[in-house]
């Protein structure tokens, strides 16, 4: 009898352990599924980054490249979301562009998750979310909330010191997995360097005229609500930034430092013939050091009581109101920025314009929304 009891409890423990293992394994593997944008009206083709760097084929660093081709020949534009997949306004802006843009002239390449590997895990130590859901035109859709860096399952271990190729610049070892410190990359390097090399090859082979890299940063970071441009595009950036300011959007313009390597706004301009290399930053409370618990309201609604208190104490470099920085405002800024800088590009380079319509901007996404809708609800109306 005693023996049977032990056997039964042993079997029960084993079944329970297997159930836990299966459930957590399924959850662990499901995180590797990245939900991609739907095919918008101008998407003519979806390629993979490995088409420009074959080393990425069958790796977690390979990622879809959406090609939106206009009826008329024109310039070419590249939009990167998901350089840091814990910065949702980047990949959500890319998704909004893909699902809404009607490209009339030129070609637009959009990579919603340029560091695909970083989109397949998150930073549990930060208490970060894994997913968020939005009710769109087609029903409920789930989006990933990823990490700043390449998944350690795909690239590990980090060295103590990261030495950037080819400059020799030294940074903290954890930056080895940050694609925005890896440009121009190299084909014989690690996975992150290969992803960066793939983007550079796309830029060089498709003769990209203007490129955007969409980011978010903590509200206390000094370079916020800002555009950073390579020196080759300061003429375009100046015109575009003036137009944004005249349209009531606070934006500061910074020229990319020549001695800080590995970033898009530096290396795209140095390592290719691109006409404009532009990075934009919005303010995201869920990235800040001053924030409270990471919640969906914080990620999408952009509100945080601790930031309201920090403002009172004078710790912030950006205007902060109780309404915070909702995803509608952050995506609105990025998409309005892309519009104004591409218009400035057309003004400076009239022979190769990029003309598109249908993409919601700051007015449609943010100013037209009611306060109750500023938590992703209004943004979802523009998703398929």
């Amino acid at each position: 009898m005693e023996k049977n009891k032990k056997l039964i409890s042993g079997v029960l423990c084993l079944v329970l352990a297997v159930a836990i293992i299966v459930t957590t394994s399924m959850n662990f593997l499901a995180v590797r599924e990245v939900p991609y944008p739907m095919m918008g009206p101008s998407v003519s083709e979806v390629k993979m980054l490995s088409d420009w760097n074959p080393n990425l084929k069958d790796t977690n660093g390979d990622t879809p490249v959406y090609i939106l081709k206009g009826e008329k020949e024109g310039g070419s534009m590249l939009i990167l979301g998901g350089t840091h997949p814990n910065e949702p306004s980047g990949y959500m802006s890319a998704t909004l562009f893909i699902e809404n843009a009607v490209v009339e002239q030129g070609t637009v390449y959009v990579i919603p998750y340029v560091n695909h590997s970083a989109a397949t895990h998150n930073d549990p130590g930060e208490g970060n979310l894994q997913y968020f859901t939005l009710t769109t035109k087609s029903g409920e859709r789930t989006f990933r909330f990823g990490s700043r860096a390449t998944n350690p399952i795909d690239q590990w271990p980090d060295p103590d010191v990261y030495v950037h190729y080819p400059s020799g610049q030294q940074l903290s070892g954890s930056e080895t997995r940050n694609i925005n410190r890896a440009y121009p990359g190299r084909p014989d390097g690690n996975l992150t360097e290969n992803m960066a090399y793939g983007v550079m090859e796309l830029i060089r082979n498709e003769d990209i005229d203007i490129g955007f890299d969409l980011h978010e940063a903590s509200p206390e970071y000094p370079v916020i609500n800002a555009t950073v441009s390579h020196q080759v595009s300061m003429d375009i950036a100046s015109v575009g930034c003036m137009n944004l300011l005249m349209g009531g959007i606070e934006m500061s313009l910074e020229q990319s430092p020549t001695n800080f390597h590995g970033l898009t706004h530096r290396e795209w301009g140095d390592a290719s013939d691109i006409r404009a290399a532009i990075l934009m930053e919005t303010a995201n409370a869920s990235q800040g050091r001053l924030r409270g618990a990471t919640t969906i309201e914080q990620v999408l609604g952009g509100r945080d009581k601790c930031y309201t208190k920090s403002l009172e104490l004078g710790f912030l470099y950006v205007p902060w109101e109780e309404v915070g920085h909702p995803i509608e405002e952050r995506c609105g800024r990025h998409l309005e920025g892309i519009k104004q800088y591409s218009l400035a590009h057309n003004e400076v380079n009239p022979e190769e314009p990029i003309v598109y319509s249908g993409v919601p901007g700051y007015q449609e996404l943010y100013l037209d929304a009611t306060r109750e809708e500023l938590d992703g609800t209004h943004l979802a109306k523009f998703l398929m």
Partner: protein, 203 residues
């Protein structure tokens, strides 16, 4: 008799103070336009082209102002690292003030050297009779220790100032202009530069 003597002495003192005040005005424009203690805008066009435009702190604000001036077809030469040697035949020097660590890095100069460059240029301009316009158009994003270190010495020596008011909530620039009788136009947005700046120049 004592009361009469005190009245005469007070009158003499008052007259001498008025005389001192007239001689201490920092510029022609200030004496015409801005009595001390009151912030007043520019009342008439007193500046002339050609113009040398430079940065004060290497933020990209000078490039945006240069873009505006280019669109307005103003006769301007843009040099972010201009020194006295670049003054040439310029009759007006515009310094767009705003500190940027990225901009300083891009220009390959540190804050100390930048301040020294600005002061050498401004002093040479004043000595050569070139009028100086100080501009701060970056709003609150261009305030803080770095920017403020460029603001005070530039604005103190200016003949005219244009400031986007969101950048002067603490009244630093308004205070300098008031104390030094410098005419100053506070504008709501950088887009207002398109009206106030051309209005400052003799057609």
């Amino acid at each position: 008799m004592k009361k009469f003597m005190a009245l005469v002495l007070a009158l003499v003192l008052a007259l001498s103070l008025v005389a001192c005040g007239g001689g201490a005005a920092s510029s022609e424009a200030a004496s015409e336009a801005a009595p001390a203690g009151e912030l007043t805008g520019l009342t008439e066009a007193i500046f002339e082209a050609p113009i040398l435009l430079t940065s004060g702190g290497q933020s990209a604000d000078y490039q945006m102002i240069g873009t505006v001036m280019g669109k307005l077809e103003m006769d301007v030469e843009i040099k972010n690292l201009a020194t006295s040697e670049d003054l040439g035949d310029a009759k007006t020097l515009i310094v767009v003030v705003g500190g940027s660590s990225k901009g300083l890095g891009a220009a390959g100069i540190d804050a100390e050297a930048e301040l020294a460059r600005m002061m050498e240029l401004i002093d040479a301009a004043k000595a050569a009779g070139v009028k100086v316009i100080a501009m701060h158009t970056g709003g609150s994003a261009r305030r803080g220790d770095l920017s403020d270190s460029f603001i005070t010495p530039t604005f103190e020596k200016a003949d005219y100032a244009i400031v986007v008011e969101a950048g002067d909530e603490d009244g630093l620039m308004a205070g300098i202009c008031t104390a030094n009788s410098i005419p100053c136009d506070m504008i709501a947005s950088i887009s207002d530069v398109t009206t106030v700046l051309p209005a400052a120049f003799v057609a």
